[in-house]
Symmetry: C2
Subunit: 301 residues, 2 copies
């Protein structure tokens, strides 16, 4: 099941060629290399760094397996989700095994960092589930959920890479901030793409998040803006039947949701790079990290 | 949710007085004390021992939270299960958090022992779920599942107690064997009680496991016995409608299922005590351990 989920195998266990982005372990490796800038690249890829990167990806896969069950999502990475193929019971257990194996890889301070990220991740998802039935959601609630669901593990990915490369705990905390802020920028941009993204680029229909009445960050900013456009959007979201997607997109924009999210994303990206600069004068080894940050945060929106 | 599950609170968070048996952490503490026999009792309850005991109970609670979702069980400890009260999504996430926090408590060899037990536990449950749709189950399959679902964590509970008290790894492995064999004896006796237990003692209707057509160890031993009674039992289990419980109980007994389970339970108990004796000449500190073993394995059957 895990091999199927990871895209290594089909449901019968035959090899398939599919590659995920593996952004989180890439960040772990790039942060480790950044810490060790000047040291020969090979020696940076010490076992402890690779093990940390693997643990991070296992935690990510654990959370996807459980989230797909919880959210009832049918497809992931262009294929049927594990629970659709093998059943929800098996998907829950496969996630459990991955979490236990991830925890087994790391020790000491790194084990605590990873466990804390898992707790934040689950608390974020739990808040999201609890909000599903029509309560008022504030921008602060929504940002806190995004920190939990996206920022926490990206932060841990970076912090673990730094720790595994021998950074002191203070430096590792700066890498954590880099990862968390990058994660939040990523989520904001993902939410913008969910409304205004080019279907040819995102692979989703235009305005997919609006059609499903998702309370993404720009939407919540609009809903809580106290503007007439925000009120009209709330009425659209509250009405039965199919939603007028292009009207809703205009209302989010008119209520300031798009501007707010773009500004917030830019601020978070700046926070991330600022933390990196504070960690030490930017060494040549941080080039990978900047490429990754660009990849994550400068998508077409 | 976790406080509710543990019996500390009601669903609204108000304190209630309910106590679980806490057999697993009791074993951790008793094994630690056994290793340290002769040392003043207080010094045995070092932080590391208590932390190990807590981690074991957290893993147990994690597995109960997920198992209740998977098995669809409505009640646990005489109350509605967490998923019935808070929803399956929240119960999955609460279990995830407990597993992460349990892993956070232990380090080094102990972390590996605990993670390996979680993997065994989940693999056992996964096999059980996979078997649910009418495949032929052998006694070996059934014993392997019981090792995973009951033996693995009891073994880890004992091994972790020994390690936390400073036992060498070889001695700790003997405590592991003690726990695993005790766990298997417990499961066999639990299965016997599920058929022949006195409802006044078990709190369940007589023959509850037969009424639900559970393929418990004595039942599987009977079904695979190659006897006429075994064949008749298979026909009863395969027929539609309510099952004649007293007839089924007679058939399990006639096919040798009851004898086999009693003999196997006695053998496992003996294996457990033998491992303990091998660990060192039985010290006075092992008295608690023997009381616990008696409590677990010498129930009224």
């Amino acid at each position: 099941m895990v091999g199927y989920h990871a895209g290594w195998w089909d449901a019968q266990g035959a090899p398939v060629a599919m590659e995920g982005k593996a952004v989180r372990p890439a960040l772990t490796l790039a942060c480790a290399r950044s810490v060790c800038a000047g040291v020969a690249a090979d020696s940076v890829l010490a076992d402890s760094v690779l093990v940390a990167a693997v643990a991070v990806e296992m935690v990510h896969d654990f959370s996807l397996l459980h989230d797909d069950v919880i959210d009832g999502d049918d497809t992931r990475r262009h294929r049927a989700t594990v629970w659709k193929v093998f059943g929800a019971d098996q998907a829950i257990l496969a996630g459990d095994v991955l979490l236990a194996l991830a925890a087994r890889q790391v020790s000491g301070a790194s084990a605590r960092v990873l466990a804390d990220a898992v707790v934040e991740l689950c608390v974020g998802q739990s808040a999201d589930v609890a909000f599903a039935d029509g309560d008022v959601v504030t921008v602060a609630d929504c940002l806190a959920m995004a920190v939990g669901k996206t920022g926490a593990l990206l932060g841990a990915a970076c912090q673990l890479g730094a720790l595994a490369a021998g950074a002191d705990s203070g430096t590792a905390l700066l890498y954590r901030t880099f990862g968390r802020e990058t994660g939040l920028a990523f989520q904001l941009i993902d939410d913008l793409l969910g409304i205004w993204g080019d279907p040819a680029v995102t692979g989703k229909p235009a305005g997919a998040d609006l059609a499903s009445r998702k309370r993404s960050l720009p939407v919540v900013a609009a809903l809580t803006s106290g503007t007439p456009a925000g009120s009209e959007l709330a009425a659209l979201y509250g009405a039965a039947g199919a939603l007028d997607v292009s009207r809703a997109a205009c209302l989010v924009e008119a209520a300031g949701g798009r501007d707010w999210a773009q500004t917030e994303a830019a601020q978070r990206t700046q926070n991330a790079l600022h933390a990196l600069t504070a960690a030490r004068p930017l060494p040549s080894g941080a080039a990978d990290l900047q490429v990754l940050t660009d990849l994550i945060t400068r998508r077409d929106y």
